[in-house]
Amino acid sequence: MNSKIDHKQYKKENREIVFSPVLLEKAKRIIARYPGGKEKSALLPLLHIAQEEFDGYLSVDVMDYIAQLLNIQPIEVYEVATFYSQYYLEPVGKYVIEVCHTGPCAICGGEKISEYLQKKLGIKNGETTIDKLFTLKEVECLGACGYAPVMQVNTEFYENLDEKKIDNILEDLRQKANVNKANESKWAEKFF
């Protein structure tokens, strides 16, 4: 679990923390799924959306904004954001690569995949590349053990990995990163 909030990341420079009218509408629809007075139930989904919207991580001012949106105390947001491993409290790369290194993946070569990624990207577990494209994280079971070794890049699963596949995936992602941002659909819009 994440354990600390880095107060250096309190504010995002030159970034106004407010949902667009479209996202605000989405947030309202999510909140409406829960009974009146139980709006706090929408916290986890809203944090996912906020994280994707505001550069991939939850700074304190983003969390404060969500608290305000749900009419709850900021501490109620912080304690949740620090508990769940998918919320990032520090800046991450455009693509967060999560490599599974738990039991079933490990016996099928998951640890070697992680080592290869570290070598290929020139970073260690938990670090971000200088071009801010990739963050590498070794994570616990992704629930795809029959297709080991596996990794997840943002919301996409990549399975039965080997070194050649990784080379191709990284190359694809590098090219995708150059594509016009306006064409990118966000998963929150797609899935929620």
Partner: protein, 441 residues
């Protein structure tokens, strides 16, 4: 070839869509249940079927449903537990991905039986694409009049909402899941009160696994007695087994309970034998939390009879020589697997996933991880082995939720059956230090 009940139509092109699912006979159980059965009759059929919770605990589903407090006057909730996170388990993801309407139909029948008008599917945060698939299925079912207000003109109303977790194994535990759904940290609650009396928002709530709720569909179609004709003894029906590790054909298989373990591992219909012609060393048959068994005890019970894939047969011999069916996460290890390294790995997982509420689990999982790390890395001491047994014993049974037990059992069973490997590590640090991912350099 074993008869399939849940995955009968899994290979039909387009089965993910409402139309194909409907053409293959889908939603006929929902029609039958809502139009011609009372809620109590449905609960009774589920009781007669002998269906047991498919998430891991194996508790009789009909009995769990009968605990639902229907007299309180409060709203009642059904939560579908799709927080599949037990290492080795990936069956629910498969089911939701391939045939989501089976789950939606199961939820409609179950909600009707329980007197529930709002149902949540709690999906683990990593399965975001599954959320998209489920939302699509819900939209389709609603368009066709199987969800929403006055379903099939019966006066029954139901909304199903998909809720996303955010990466926490503990939220698979039902009371932690309820906390999480309320927008809090996933700290399990003390029981009693049980969720059936005081669950989500303090209201009566039933939490069931994806596969359990999907199994309600065939139970209504063929009747509780018809379903109970499958399987063996108190292990009725079929079970999804997710097979992984060092086997030729990893994947999700529907088996009739009672299938011999040996057949499951070696037949071409299932795992297809051990990869690269190696020998079988050990199996964890029910997700990483259940005891590991060496090959011999896995294939035959101590008296020499073949061991079967059923709740009772897998448990035969207790913790001395048996294990559990658990979630059906079937992890196979070949002769090259290092049991010490694997045990360290799994313990790291439990340490990472402990919510931190109870000291025995919060501290104990960390201690076990450290001790196992040093044994695995050639710094172990002889007394470390007893130390591990002692810590595991002190965690087991002393925590609010079963995560403590789940962390203790893999360690205790690994030492019980593979003590010689731990001793080898401690006695031969120079050799152990040269081993890298199972190969001596």
């Amino acid at each position: 070839m074993g008869r399939k009940i849940l995955l009968e139509h899994i290979d039909l092109p387009g089965i993910r869509t409402f139309d194909v699912y409907r053409q293959s006979g889908g939603y006929s159980a929902a029609e039958k249940a809502l139009k011609s059965m009372t809620p109590d009759e449905i609960v009774n059929e589920v009781k007669v079927s002998g269906l047991r919770g498919r998430g891991g605990a194996g508790f009789p589903t009909g009995m769990k449903w009968s605990f639902m407090d229907k007299k309180s006057g409060l709203p009642r909730y059904l939560i579908c537990n799709a927080d599949e996170s037990e290492p080795g388990t990936f069956k629910d993801r498969f089911l939701m991905d391939k045939i989501p309407h089976l789950l939606i139909e199961g939820l409609i029948i179950s909600s009707f039986a329980l007197g529930v008008n709002t149902t949540y599917i709690y999906v683990r945060g990593e399965f975001k694409y599954i959320i998209g698939i489920l939302n699509q299925a819900i939209r389709e079912a609603k368009e066709k009049g199987f969800l929403g207000k006055n379903i099939l003109n019966t006066g029954f109303n139901l909304e199903i909402h998909v809720h996303s977790g955010a990466g926490a194994y503990i939220c698979g535990e039902e009371t932690a899941q309820i906390e999480s759904l309320e927008g809090k940290r996933g700290n399990p609650r003390l029981k009693p009160p049980f969720p059936a009396v005081k669950g989500l928002y303090g209201c009566p709530t039933v939490v069931n696994n994806v596969e359990t709720l999907a199994a309600v569909v065939p139970i209504i179609n063929m009747g509780g007695t018809g379903y109970a004709a499958f399987g063996v003894g108190k292990s009725t029906g079929t079970k999804l087994i997710s097979a992984c590790g060092n086997i030729n054909k990893p994947g999700v298989y529907e088996i009739e309970l009672g299938l011999p373990v040996e057949e499951f591992i070696y037949s071409e219909e299932y795992c297809g034998g051990i990869k690269n012609g190696k020998k079988l060393k050990a199996v964890i048959p029910g997700g990483s939390s259940v005891p590991i068994l060496p090959a011999k005890l896995m294939i035959t019970i101590e008296s020499g009879e073949p061991r079967l894939m059923s709740y009772e047969s897998l448990a035969k011999g207790g913790f001395e020589s048996g294990t559990m069916l658990g979630s059906g996460g079937f992890i196979v290890y070949d002769e090259d697997a290092c049991i010490v390294r694997n045990t360290w790995n799994l313990t790291r997982f439990y340490h990472h996933e402990s919510c931190g509420q109870c000291s025995p689990c919060r501290e104990g999982t960390g201690w076990m991880e450290k001790v196992l790390y040093r044994i695995e890395h050639g710094q172990g001491r002889q007394k470390d082995i007893e130390l591990l047994v002692s810590i595991a014993n002190k965690i087991e049974g002393n925590t609010i939720c079963p995560l403590g037990d789940a962390a203790a059992w893999p360690v205790a069973s690994a030492i019980r059956h593979f003590r010689h490997e731990f001793e080898f590590h401690v006695e031969n640090p120079e050799i152990v230090k040269k081993i890298y991912h199972g190969n001596i350099e």
